[in-house]
Structures are given as C-alpha cells and as structure tokens.
Subunit: 298 residues, 3 copies
C-alpha cells in the first residue's frame, strides 16, 4: 500500500521530469557546490570532517523516485565521497516524509525510446555497482517505505536500520507490476535473506512490514521513527572502530563474486532490460497500472 | 516411523507391480480419458477450467510409492496440464490416508537389472525436471507423511502446506536406508532450507515433524488435517493474482541454474545411480532392510 | 574479552616456541607412542577401540594456540585415526580451562621470515583440509572460548556442542586484529550460518556468546559446562548408527566443492597470506596489538 501511495504521487509529478535530465548533466556550478557540504536539487550531503561520516539526504519530492537525473546525482556524490580520503562512512536517508525511496521511476520506463531506456538502466547498474562495492561503511537509515529500487538501494548497504512503523513496507515487489527484478537484484537479495525467502519474495512481489523484514533479515534493526538517523550515527561509530583495511578486504571478498557477475554482463543486461521493457505487452501493463493509480487518486 | 509404516505396507504390495509397468506404457484409451478430468489407476486429476487450477490426487495404494509406472503417469499428466493454456495452477495431494508419498519405490531398486534401474532413475529425473521447472504455480498439499522422494516432490513446488499432525513426518532420509540422495536432491534442499540444515538433514537422514519442518522452512504453513486442500486452493488464488509472465520469468531465474546442472549431467547421474544401486553391498543392505520390515510386520 | 585474556597469556608464552618446532619434526619415539592412546606434548588422544571413538584433548598451555608445532601434531594424529579402520568417530575437545582454542598463534605471524610464514600457513590449510574433509564423524566439544582459528576448527566438525557459559565466546574475529579471514574460512562460515550472517560477522570481527552462537547456528547445542564431553559421546552414538558409507558420500557431496576451491588454490593462498602478513603496516598493527596486551597485563 505504501508503494501504491508512493506511485500515486509519482504519477502526478511525472511531468516534472525535464528534458534536461535526459542528458544526465550536472552543471559546473552544481559540481562546485558539491565539493564539501553539497546541496543539489535532489540530494543533500552533510559531511562531517571530524567524524569522517557523510549523511546523504535524498530530497526529491514527493517520493525520491530513482530517475536518471536522480541516479546520476547520487552516483556523482558517492564517487566524490569515495575519493575523499577523509570520508570513511556514508549514511543514506530520506528527507521526504513516510518514504525512503519509492524505487525506479516508472516514468523512465514508460513510453521512452530504447536508447533512453538503456541510458536509464545503465545508471541503475552504476548506482548498484558503486554502493554494493563501496569501500565506505554504508548504513541505510530507512525512514519510510522502501519498495523495489528503494529496497535494492537499502540492501547494498552494510547495515539497515528501519523506522518501526507498521504502515511502512520494504521489498522487491517488481513482479506485482508485471516487471522482473534482474539477476543482480536477485543475487543481492539472496545474499541478504537466502535463496528460499528470495524465491517467495520475488515470485509474489512481496512487501514486508518492518517487523516482518526484521524477522527474515531484510533489515537489521528497528527503532522508533525519530531515532533512525541518530541510531545510524551510533552504529556507524561502532563500524568505524574496526581496522579499516581488513574490513574493506573482507567486504570485497564477500561481494566481489556478485559484482563480477554484473560487470561481466552489463551490456547483455541492458539489452535484456530494454527489449523487455519496450515490449508492447509490458508497456500496456505499465499503462494500465498508471491509469489505475490515476483512478484511485480521483 | 511413518516411513517404516509406509515401507512395511509397500513391502507387502511390491508384488502388485505388474510386468506391464516395466515398459512404462499408457494405453491409448487411458490417454483419451486423461484429456479433461482424467482417472487412471494411480493418479486422478481434477481440472477446474473456470479457475484454471488442477488438483492432482495421488491414489496408488497403499502409500503412493514412486514406481516407474507411477512416475510415468505423473509426468504425462503434468505435461498435459503444462501444455493446456487454460491451466495456470497445480495442486498436488494424496488420496491415501496418512501419507502424501512414501517416496521412491524400493522394489524398483532391489533385484532389478541395470537397464531397468536406469529406466527408473530417468523417470525420477523427469519428474523432478518437470515439476521444479514448471511454469504453473505448484502447491504441495501434504496431507500425510512425505519421506524421501515424497519430500523431493514437495520441495519442487512453489509452496508447501502440511497437515499439522505430529505423527506425520517429512525429510530426505535416504542415508538411513544406506543409500544416498543425489546432488540434485541436495541442491533442491539447499535452495529450500540452506546449506547447513541440509548437511545435517542428509548426513543423518532426518525426518522432521510438521512443527520442525515449519521451523526450518521445509514447509511453509501448517493447517489442521482436514483443511490442507482448501487452504491450498485459497493460497493458489493469491498466487494466480500475480502477473503471470513476470512470475514465470522470476521462477525460472531462481531455479534455472539448479535445473541446468542436472540437464547437463543426466547420463552421468543415471550411470552413477545404476552402478551404486546394483552394488552387492547396497543390494544386501536393501535386502536386510526389507527383511527387517517383514519381521516387524510378523 | 575471552580472546584478549587468551592472547594476553599467549603473549607471555610465546618464548616457549622452540626452534625445533620450525621443522615440524615429530620424533620416531613420539610416533611410536601415538599408535594407540598417544600422549605428546600438545595433544592427547584417547581411542576406545570398542566404540570406535577417539577423543582428542588439546592440552597446549595456556590456550591451545595453533602454532606450527601444534598443527603438525594435530594433523599427524587425525591422519592416523583416519587410516585406522577401527576408528569411526572423533571428538575434539580441550583440557585447558576456559578455552577450546585461542586460534592461530600470533607469534607465528609476527617477525617471522616469509618462508616460515608460508610453512605455517600451509599447516593451517592442512588442518582444515584434513578436518573438513574427514571421513570420520567429527564432533567439537567446545568447552571454552573459541575465537578465530578455534572457531574455524569447530566449524570443520559435523556437529558442535558448546559449554553454556556466557563468559565464553566464539567467532571469526580476525578483522578486529587488522587481519583478514581468507576465502576458505569465509566459505566454511557461509556453509554454516549463511551469507549475510557471515558478512556481518567477518566485517565486524564478531565474537558471539554461546546463546548468540546457537541462535545464528554457529553451534548446534548448548549444555552445562561439565556435560560437554559426555553429551558429545552420546551424540556420537547417534551419528555412528547411520549407515557409514552413505553418510560419508553425503558429507563429501556437501563439502567437496568448498574443499576443491582451496585445493586448486593452495599456492596462491599461501602467497597471498605471506605477502599480506609480512607487510610493514600489518606487522606494525600486530606489534601494537601485542604491546597493548602487555600493557593491559601490567
């Protein structure tokens, strides 16, 4: 239901996706601003030099949809932090009420050219590669619902803290929309909750309440809604006390085989996505879904 | 114990395996009967065109042993349903009291020629390949004990509902009989309950009570004995509400690597089985097992 | 904390490592003694011919550190039992109070030549290969704390029983020391507790209380401290009742892929270890760790 609410809003704002976003450009001025504490339209990064911890606030109204523009900004910010020797930890959270991220922006998949779809998918891959393979300690401070791509982003982190509000949900629910989570979404989930839980979750497109997500291991900890970020900061301190080099090598050992699978198949994965998503039947089911949301709203 | 009871009965009826079963033939008349609601000697299929759900009742007294004849009938029925565009879901259950299936028929492994053993094993593979890779939603309505091959058949399904009766049990207990679950039995169990639980289960040949099976994830749900089939029907409705194409692709993504492993090694797997099962030492331990059962019965 | 106490003691006794241990020699007299119930300096084996069960008591004061000499003795003893047709089960336990094994001897990694480090690492590999691939039923009777290499040794066994004392702990805590558990430590842990638990455990170098270890499946059973060995003996009886050949084939099927990975990469793994451990930065962090322990003791 959280997803539906999210998509309802997303549907409304889809027109906001400007044509400039199509070239994933970030202006030189914006780049300059981002050097330290950056504020761009969709993402705000607070970096505390003394602790070495950056907090990335997603602030793209209404539901932090992962559009091409959003993903591009996110990747640029992560890359900058990754290259900054003084940065050791990254907390990802949302400034939008009730939602962490509603996931991939459906409007990037509906009625778009194959070229544009391919460009979009490459950015989704890039986000995953950057975050799942990050040398930083990454903690997801999941302050609201986190369906589909929002769940994927959460799963790339080293640790997940979620607001203990039963109205929120998290999961890879792509199947419910008639689309398919690709193999690397699946691999990430198998690495997190195991094979059988993933099979059930993906076949049914399940969204879990925070309590259920904790039970199956999809999140690591639940805290009251107003303590998500402070808890993330406390947990981060614990992680940063671990000898860094050994932790990084260990993280890489755990994740490299999964990352290598996508790296070796990026082009094929893009082609698969484009040929699937541009099918008449899939476009039709996306249209029906969007129309249903419009009706519900009305 | 459930297994022992089952085998005790099986032992008695082993003589019922007619020589005609050796050629795995299904008469033309039988084939004709099976086109819609079919009734053959060992399997009854009720197909409800309106819901798109078929219920396959195993009814081979006394314990639905998986003989060559039984497996052949089962595969023919599954294949027919698979090719019928109007069929979307398959519930597998048993009409025999207290037992879902006692598993592979020991009499097919004892005192048989290598050729016959190979033919039998190929049918076991075929059953697994058809069910584990089925495009249908498959639900096991486990109305009684389900050892060995019965457990394997259950694990091929998308969802498992078991009668909550502590006298029933389920598990891959081959080791207890001195035989070995092959790699694809093992892979299926690892995919269901994870590596360590499978290691313990297979090394000890463990049979689990319904409560234990639920705890380790070997079954998904327990219900009172008289509600197994009705619950399966309700759960099926939920599964059929999922966009079908996306669900099928997802299922294939989860299971294809496991299926490909057997497909690429069918001949070698048959040879392994035949050379193992026809060993004097194994035949001797099967004989001792059967004699022990006879004595118990007397 | 158990580890720190253990290492504190180990630090003190490091001078006891005699130069003779560098050649991993075992005198002919010692070999003769070991034929039946053997007593060598570091390991005592009680073998009961009637039951077919050997109990290996680790008795290297103060904390059963896995030095080259210790590992060599251990491997010789395991190999002898493995070749003895009358031996079917092996229980591994400790005669030292409060500790099962404190793991790899840090003094074997600090200030040693690359050749010596390589020799040491080869012995660690050998211990793992022998135990993880053993045809015997192996049970760890974990009578005290079991960090790092002690945890690895426990995980190689078929079954783990731990003393239910909250002051004891178990886990692969290498990262805490600034070193890295290699891929086969990781693989063994993934096979035992799954991918995500292993990721968390290894990145944070976690040590678990017995209750926590039971919860995540790192051990199989907790018993009062004075019942660890008697329980192990009872459980062994249950395992030995399983048809042996089928159990051995099953165990091999579960573990062979993991064993093959190391067997195919032993030299590279040794080179990796040596080049990592002899780095100035790693030697420095080991020195700081040892100095910290000395200060704590003072």
């Amino acid at each position: 239901m959280a997803l539906r609410a999210a998509l309802r809003s997303k549907c409304v704002v889809s027109g906001l996706l400007s044509s400039s976003s199509r070239h994933a450009c970030v202006s030189p001025v914006l780049r300059a601003q981002q050097r330290n504490n950056s504020t761009s339209s969709k993402i705000k990064v607070d970096f505390d030099q003394s602790s070495g911890v950056a907090v990335m606030h997603m602030q793209s109204p209404p539901v932090n949809s992962l559009s091409l523009e959003f993903l591009t900004e996110l990747c640029i910010n992560v890359e900058k932090l990754e290259m900054d020797k003084s940065c050791r930890g990254l907390i990802i959270t949302s400034n939008q009420p009730k939602v962490f991220s509603a996931g991939l922006d459906i409007m990037e998949m509906y009625g778009k050219s194959p070229e544009r779809c391919g460009e979009f998918w490459k950015a989704v891959q890039e986000m995953w590669l950057k975050l799942y393979g990050s040398n930083l300690v990454t903690i997801a401070a999941i302050s609201g619902s986190s369906p589909a791509g929002g769940c994927l982003m959460s799963m790339t982190c080293d640790y997940r803290i979620m607001a203990d509000n039963p109205r929120y949900s998290i999961g890879l629910n792509e199947t419910q929309l008639g689309i398919v989570a690709p193999f690397w979404f699946k691999d990430t989930m198998v690495n997190t909750v195991g094979h059988r839980t993933t099979e059930l979750a993906l076949e049914l497109g399940m969204l879990y309440s925070p309590a259920e997500a904790l039970k199956i291991g999809l999140v690591d900890q639940l805290v009251p809604e107003d303590q998500v970020l402070t808890t993330a900061t406390q947990i981060m301190t614990k992680w940063l006390a671990i000898p860094e080099h050994a932790r990084q090598i260990t993280k890489s050992m755990m994740r490299k085989p999964t990352i290598d699978k996508l790296t070796a198949n990026r082009e094929a994965d893009i082609n698969n996505f484009v040929s699937f998503i541009t099918k008449d039947s899939i476009q039709k089911s996306l249209r029906m879904y969007l129309e249903m949301l419009k009706k519900r709203k009305a």
